[in-house]
């Protein structure tokens, strides 16, 4: 086939991009070469719209071993232990084929982690669906949950936490973000930078098939009516092979045979070989006739673009081929020497003894286009003036029940019961808490992780929203007694070619940067997913933050369930009663306007450190951060989990109880204090000059507040626990 501009456009390239390719090559590329360019220059692989802004991220810190740019980020957790982690999106494929899309998302992120030599120890996910009323939602949710479980359960890595939301902006574009944490000895980390000339390039894992061809380009475009036709671009996962690949790779990594290793993810063999060569400033020569293929008569074009799963590319020390082959034979995996490193600084492909492609590596990597796309600032919306007389007709207890059963607040047990969350025998905080916690096997340490996003806040004011999610992640880790260390982010946005969407991206990123700098909570890995748009309708900006923290003695871990009758309950942090953008405003007043709650980074840090200090001194016995739904929602969850009630005090100086109980002001926690610790707690709170309210006392079997609320826990539980199950069964 002759390569023309039209063919290039079919491959997702822009007219100008095609001319630039011809200019750089000083000739017209052949079809295979064009395919390689299209794979490397698409948004998904090149970050061409986002790179300019991502550069400004706060990525360094005392405990950061590896920041963005590798397969995953790495942090130091002491005693030579390091945690490798990353979050990644698999949005487009999951909408087209929810089971396989979600499953391969989980598979891909786990490979990113074990590629670095780490054994995966925990999975998390953040999944977002359209309105519950939308006809596709139920099936998409069912498929995604089954896919995530199907893959993670089979590998035997516990899924320890997650987040699920519903919003009509996801009707045509669901989001599936998967995160994995792995444990590695910090002196045995493997990187993707090739080094040395004439080193054998090894292909291991599954055979290459025709699945997933153009997957990365598909993920770099918006959807239209013909998405069903895109099904063949979705990869098909085989977790069994991945489990074998994991064990085989870790076995080979136990000695010094590997120079560089890279998983074949988006754009398969193309991006893995180019990235390894590019990082090592080398050339690479591949003989595509040696690539193990699943199907007959695959062309170089197909082999280079296939996104078949469970494959790895390794640059090996010379002479180690036999040793490595033995390991892969033991695990029944394909093993083939398919090429070598060269000093040509080109990627050269041979097929049937003929050279079929030759491209200088820097044209694919460094010379890939970078765009400074125009963007529009979002103005902070005017604060709403609520008619408080209107509130009076609302009964507090009815409001609470309604909020607890809101689709975004209600219990997600139906989902996480389908994920194996206890395999590996170290899960000490299961899904449903503020963060999942796993022990570092055989030590006193534990690692906490959570995933968070706040699309409504980000939509209303991206800058504040960006800051808020980082803070929320910080709080969730502190709530389980962990010191926050670093984050990974998955930036899900609409079409960057639209000024509004690009603006949302730029400002959310700015917010993330500001908060992560202030809180010393650096970003060590991440990914960007643009073009989450169907027929011109984009999603609400949904950056997802995956936070990781350390508990140095796991016996100090905190949970949110109320523990003992008679203990005191405090709200730490000041409540101004911010109702704009709250669940209360949406659910009970049908009011969607207004700004998100203000983020005060000084308070976040100071109050966070206070709570951490209290937990380190063993002065508090339970803790929960106050977020969506405000104080009353948070307290209800603590009651339900602990099967204990609370008697709420008559609060002094309370101006409006609705604002107080349902306001979503930031930087707040609820803590439970044994009476014996009270004096010490008060001293510490005063030392840090932290505002607190004496909310009440753990008491009985219901939530009581004056004459306004008297709700037995079972009633709260009914409201909270069964919405999702009922929805899925209906």
């Amino acid at each position: 086939m002759e390569v023309t501009e039209a063919v290039a456009i079919d491959h997702g390239l822009k007219k100008e991009e095609f001319s630039k390719i011809c200019e750089l090559l000083k000739r017209t590329p052949n079809l295979t070469e064009l395919a390689i360019f299209s794979a490397m220059w698409n948004e998904h692989c090149s970050y061409k719209s986002s790179r300019k802004h991502l550069k400004k991220m706060h990525t360094k810190g005392k405990q950061v071993i590896q920041g963005p740019g590798e397969n995953a980020g790495v942090i130091d957790i002491g005693d030579d232990d390091a945690i490798v982690f990353k979050i990644e999106s698999h949005n487009h494929p999951s909408f087209i084929e929810p089971y396989q899309g979600a499953a391969t998302g989980v598979g891909g992120i786990m490979r990113d982690v074990f590629t670095m030599g780490a054994r995966p120890i925990a999975n998390l996910n953040s999944i977002h669906f359209g309105s519950p009323q939308h006809k596709k939602t139920r099936n998409l949710l069912r498929g995604v949950v089954k896919g995530i479980g199907g893959y993670g359960n089979c590998i035997g890595v516990p899924t320890i936490a997650g987040q699920t939301t519903f919003d009509e902006s996801y009707n045509g574009n669901i989001l599936v973000n998967a995160m994995t944490l792995g444990l590695v000895n910090k002196n045995k980390i493997f990187y993707s930078k090739a080094a040395g000339l004439d080193k054998p390039v090894i292909y291991v894992g599954s055979k290459t098939g025709r699945d997933g061809i153009h997957g990365a380009s598909m993920a770099s475009a918006t959807f239209d009516d013909k998405i069903e036709e895109k099904k063949p671009t979705v990869q098909v996962g085989d977790p069994f092979t991945e489990k074998l690949l994991l064990e085989a790779c870790l076995e080979l990594m136990a000695d010094n045979s590997i120079i560089a290793i890279q998983d074949m993810g988006a754009a398969g063999l193309t991006s893995s070989s180019v990235e390894m060569a590019s990082k090592g400033n080398l050339g690479i020569e591949l003989n595509l006739s040696e690539v193990p293929c699943r199907e007959e008569k695959m062309t170089p074009y197909e082999i280079m673009l296939s996104e078949s799963q469970e494959r790895m590319l390794i640059v090996l020390e010379k002479g180690k081929e036999e040793h490595a082959k033995k390991i892969f034979d033991k695990w029944n995996l394909d093993f083939a020497v398919i090429g070598k490193t060269t000093n040509s600084k080109k990627i050269e492909l041979v097929f049937d003894n003929k050279k079929v492609a030759e491209i200088p590596i820097d044209l694919l990597a460094e010379n890939a286009p970078i765009y400074d796309r125009p963007w529009k600032k979002t103005k902070l919306p005017q604060k709403l003036k609520f008619d408080k007389d209107e509130f009076k007709s609302l009964k507090l207890s009815d409001c609470l029940k309604k909020i607890l059963s809101n689709s975004n607040i209600s219990d997600k047990k139906w989902i996480w019961d389908q994920y194996d969350h206890t395999v590996m025998g170290d899960t000490i905080q299961k899904p449903g808490g503020d963060a999942g916690v796993v022990r570092v096997h055989g030590t006193n340490k534990a690692v906490a992780a959570s995933v968070d996003s706040s699309a409504l806040y980000c939509f209303s004011h991206p800058l504040t929203g960006g800051k808020q999610i980082v803070c929320e992640s910080y709080r969730n880790l502190i709530s389980v007694g962990a010191k926050p260390i670093a984050i990974t982010n998955c930036l899900n946005f609409g079409n960057p070619e639209k000024e509004k969407n690009m603006g949302e991206f730029v400002e959310c990123v700015e917010g993330i940067i500001e908060a992560s700098k202030y809180l010393d909570f650096p970003v060590v890995s991440g990914n960007v997913s643009f073009y989450n748009e169907t027929k011109d309708k984009g999603i609400k900006p949904t950056p997802t933050i995956g936070g990781v923290g350390l508990i140095s003695d796991y016996q100090q871990m905190l949970t949110m369930d109320f523990k003992t009758e008679g203990n005191l309950v405090y709200v730490i942090g000041k409540t101004d009663g911010h109702l704009d953008q709250s669940i209360f405003a949406r659910e009970l007043l049908n009011e969607k306007k207004g700004p998100p709650p203000t983020v005060n980074l000084f308070n976040e840090k100071n109050i966070g450190e206070t709570v951490l200090d209290l937990s380190r001194k063993n002065l508090i016995v339970s803790c929960h951060d106050v977020s969506l739904g405000g104080i009353l929602t948070a307290v209800s969850k603590m009651c339900i989990k602990g099967k204990k009630g609370i008697k709420i005090n008559t609060l002094k100086g309370l101006t409006n109880k609705y604002e107080y109980f349902f306001g979503e002001d930031q930087a707040r926690y609820i803590i439970e204090i044994p009476k014996a610790s009270l004096m010490k707690v008060n001293d510490i709170l005063n030392k840090y000059s932290v505002h607190f309210d004496e909310l009440g006392t753990v008491n009985g079997q219901s939530i009581e507040y004056k004459d306004d609320i008297n709700l037995p826990i079972e009633e709260l539980e009914d409201a909270h626990k069964y919405w999702l199950k009922k929805y899925m069964d209906s």
Binding site: K146, C154, D420, V423, G425, T427
Partner: protein, 227 residues
């Protein structure tokens, strides 16, 4: 007491089982599926996971693996063989245990704490166990035990039903049955009660920071009965 845990490709509870056995004082060894023989053992464990990807049927390919003949010989000579979860599925596929494990009644994978009632204590696993109801943990998609009426009668007549799903107080009914298993069966013995297969994972319940500690009782009891 010497134990061996068999690792099949796709096993994923092998390490957890190794950790649990060693914690309570078993001298444990790991055995690869392609090995011909098993080191001298007093207990062989087939761990949970997805042996051979659960392809064809759960446990089916493992039941034809190289090592399995040694396991069958060992069982037939009276040795203790314990199959947990996928291990239970493998044991039914080998014919060492009766019946089959179907997909869960509600068609979903279930990961959850459950209570099981110990139905028989005249065996080397549960003899003198201090509790009648244990809190254990399940994590499976195919744990819905089923067998023919004749087989069920035999199981009942010979007291081969080992554990059944129940409520905290020991009541066995539909609500306490997580997966639709016939007669709430969570685990069974062979006729001689040296082979035990069960869906719940005792190895995940071995210290108070995990989902619970009743798994410890199970392992300690096997050791106590061996002495």
């Amino acid at each position: 007491m010497r134990s061996s845990v068999i690792i099949f490709p796709g096993s994923n509870c092998d390490r957890d089982m190794d950790v649990a056995l060693k914690k309570f004082g078993f001298k444990n060894q790991m055995v690869w599926h392609n090995d011909q023989s098993i080191p001298k053992s007093d207990l062989i464990v087939l761990p949970g996971g997805f042996s051979y990807g659960d392809y064809l049927r759960c446990g089916s390919i493992a039941s034809k693996s190289k090592i399995i003949k040694s396991v069958i010989d060992f069982a037939n000579s009276g040795g203790l063989v314990l199959g947990i979860c996928n291990g239970f599925q493998i044991l039914t596929e080998t014919g060492l245990l009766n019946g089959i494990l179907q997909q869960n009644k509600f068609l979903n994978f279930i990961c959850s704490n459950v209570y099981v009632k110990v139905k028989d204590k005249q065996n080397k696993y549960f003899k003198d166990l201090k509790k009648d109801v244990l809190e254990l943990h399940i994590a499976h998609n195919e744990g819905n035990y089923f067998c023919s009426e004749d087989e069920l009668k035999l199981l009942e007549d010979n007291n081969q039903i080992a554990v059944t799903y129940c409520g905290k107080d020991g009541t066995e009914n539909e609500t306490s049955n997580p997966n639709g298993a016939i007669k709430n069966i969570a685990g069974i013995f062979n006729k001689n009660k040296n082979v035990l297969g069960m869906m719940p994972h005792p190895e995940r319940m071995i210290d108070k920071y995990l989902s619970g500690e009743d798994g410890s009782l199970f392992f300690k009891n096997i050791l106590d009965n061996f002495k």
